[in-house]
């Protein structure tokens, strides 16, 4: 069986950044496995701008951002296999992949980095009544059809869900001459970034209807219309609020789900909130030598943060390969997400083996105004920072310094929560 020091599953933004960082940390024998025919992942179809302000201090489009990382991988001559799908990862890090040239191959990895990204929640997961005509797409599928394959997806459009891809597609389809009639959102707030509501909807006068959902789909061959209704606090449609929209296209932007079938196969323990693996501050899963980063770990808003996170996974996987063991044994303290904080990544912090500073990322459960984000070591308040607005669509972070634990040798839990006053 062939051996590679580090095998990276996925050649999107996370996989590319992890590979570049692992090489920088001195690992020569790296292999990236990518199921598409090109590197770059979802960035290839995200042709809008707004990427890279944190990483490169300039505003790039998705393909340009991807090109920077692809160039790093090419310059470093890091090997990758395209059109190669991974079928299985075992607990002892045997990776089985399939491609046209080699057939079914199993290789052994010193460390594995999970970087498979996420996929869109489909119609089938929503239980919308009605017919099943052509013309209903997940927003990302429509984005690919339009931006890469060059199809006109539709002329009269309704979008369900106000996630970022839905907002971006509302603008994109408007620019291409379609009429986007409405964006409907089940929740009382948008799941997308504020800037996308401004520049994708407001700029073009596209209405956003919060607390609304699709309750009927019409059309036998092609979609001919949908019915929208307002929902109550329990998200149930309110009778009498139904409105009919004629349309030939319905886009669904109703959430992204980390793609973790391979992780589960490897025996990695999963987090119920993130739908990604549980990791420590090295981004190591509970299976030794298997690391996770990017959207497979938790869904991000910004690729810049994916790149940062993935670089950390790459460095830590490199250190594991060199030392032959995970971070030195130490005091592993659970991070608890409470009172309006839905989850944290990482979920565990090794306060003795941690780096000087660790960024903890999280999302809040609802839209909050004028709240503090507080950090407690056991029951002692360590820091609190006031935020004017907190929203589930915008990932938040706190930075924990190693030095801050010097006075808490017996710490048993770290709590991150929101507080009113």
């Amino acid at each position: 069986m062939t051996h590679h020091d580090i095998v990276i599953i996925g050649g999107g933004p996370a996989g590319l950044s992890a590979a570049a960082a692992a090489r920088k940390a001195g690992i020569q024998d790296i292999l990236i496995l990518e199921r598409d025919g090109v590197l770059g992942g979802i960035l290839n179809q995200c042709i809008h701008n707004g990427f890279g302000l944190h990483t490169f201090k300039e505003e790039l489009t998705g393909p340009e951002y991807a090109a920077r990382y692809i160039a790093m991988v090419e310059e470093e001559k890091i090997p990758y296999k395209l059109n190669t799908i991974v079928a299985d990862i075992s607990k002892d890090r045997e990776v089985t992949y399939i491609n046209r040239e080699e057939g079914l191959v199993t290789i052994k990895a010193g460390a594995v980095i999970l970087a498979m990204g996420c996929r869109e929640r489909p119609r089938g997961a929503l239980n919308i009544p009605g017919y099943r005509p052509a013309g209903i797409y997940s927003a990302g599928t429509a984005q690919r059809l339009m931006n890469i394959e060059g199809y006109c997806v539709g002329k009269e459009v309704v979008i369900l869900g106000s996630g970022d891809i839905g907002l971006i597609m509302a603008r994109r389809m408007t620019l291409e001459g379609a009429k986007v009639k409405v964006v409907a959102e089940l929740m009382p707030y948008s799941g997308g970034l504020k800037r996308n509501i401004v520049q994708c909807l407001d700029d073009y006068g596209i209405p956003l209807k919060l607390s609304h959902t699709v309750v009927n789909i019409e059309g036998k061959e092609r979609l001919t219309g949908i019915t929208l209704a307002e929902v109550d606090a329990n998200r149930n449609p309110i009778p009498g609020t139904e409105e009919h929209y004629s349309c030939d296209t319905l886009l669904l932007s109703v959430g992204l789900i980390p793609e973790n079938e391979l992780s589960k196969g490897a025996g990695v323990s999963m987090n119920r909130v993130t739908s990604g693996p549980n990791v420590d501050d090295h981004l190591e899963t509970e299976v030794e030598g298997i690391y996770a980063c990017g959207n497979v770990l938790h869904v991000h808003d910004l690729v810049d943060f994916v790149s940062q996170e993935a670089a950390l996974a790459g460095e830590n996987a490199a250190a594991y390969v060199k030392n032959g063991k995970s971070g030195e044994e130490g005091r592993k303290v659970p991070l608890l997400a409470e009172n309006g904080v839905r989850y944290t990544v990482p979920q565990v912090l090794n306060v003795t083996a941690m780096q000087d500073a660790v960024t903890v990322r999280f999302r809040v459960a609802d839209v909050y105004k004028d709240r503090y984000i507080s950090v407690y070591y056991d029951d002692k308040l360590i820091s609190k920072k006031k935020k004017k607005v907190l929203a589930p669509g915008e990932m938040e972070q706190v930075v924990l310094k190693k030095s801050s634990f010097a006075d808490y040798p017996d710490i048993s839990r770290i709590k991150i929560c929101t507080e009113v006053e």
Partner: protein, 120 residues
């Protein structure tokens, strides 16, 4: 004196900024970086946008090459710029950064490729 509340679109942080306009005196608060102040000043006087789209490629490995306006263009010109982008065809290969339209819709702004497309 006029007060306008905007969301900065300079980056995904989306800072809420307040612009106070008093004749020629424009005051911006709430921004976390200089880009926010620039954006807010522009937005209340001459709003501009970067436009991204794609252009059909003849004989390419993929059907379309993604493009952008090299600089921001007046918001009022977006649909004229799109019209010219839609009517343009280019031949593969296309290199990233290649100028595909020299002066788009009289804005004086170039349309450049944001990815490379090889010949099929």
């Amino acid at each position: 004196m006029e007060v306008r509340n905007l969301i900065c679109i300079g980056c995904p942080l989306g800072c809420p900024v307040t612009v106070t306009i008093d004749g020629d005196d424009i005051n911006v608060t709430g921004n976390t970086c200089p880009r926010g102040a620039d954006y807010a000043r522009k937005e209340v006087s001459n709003p501009t946008r970067i436009v991204t789209s794609s252009i059909r490629v003849n004989d390419g490995v993929i059907a379309r090459v993604s493009v952008k306006t090299k600089n921001d263009i007046p918001k009022s010109k977006i649909f004229e710029v799109m019209e010219e982008i839609r009517n343009t065809r280019v031949d593969a290969p296309v290199a990233m950064g290649q100028v595909l339209i020299a002066d788009c819709a009289g804005t004086g702004v170039e349309i450049v490729a944001t990815k490379g497309v090889d010949r099929a």
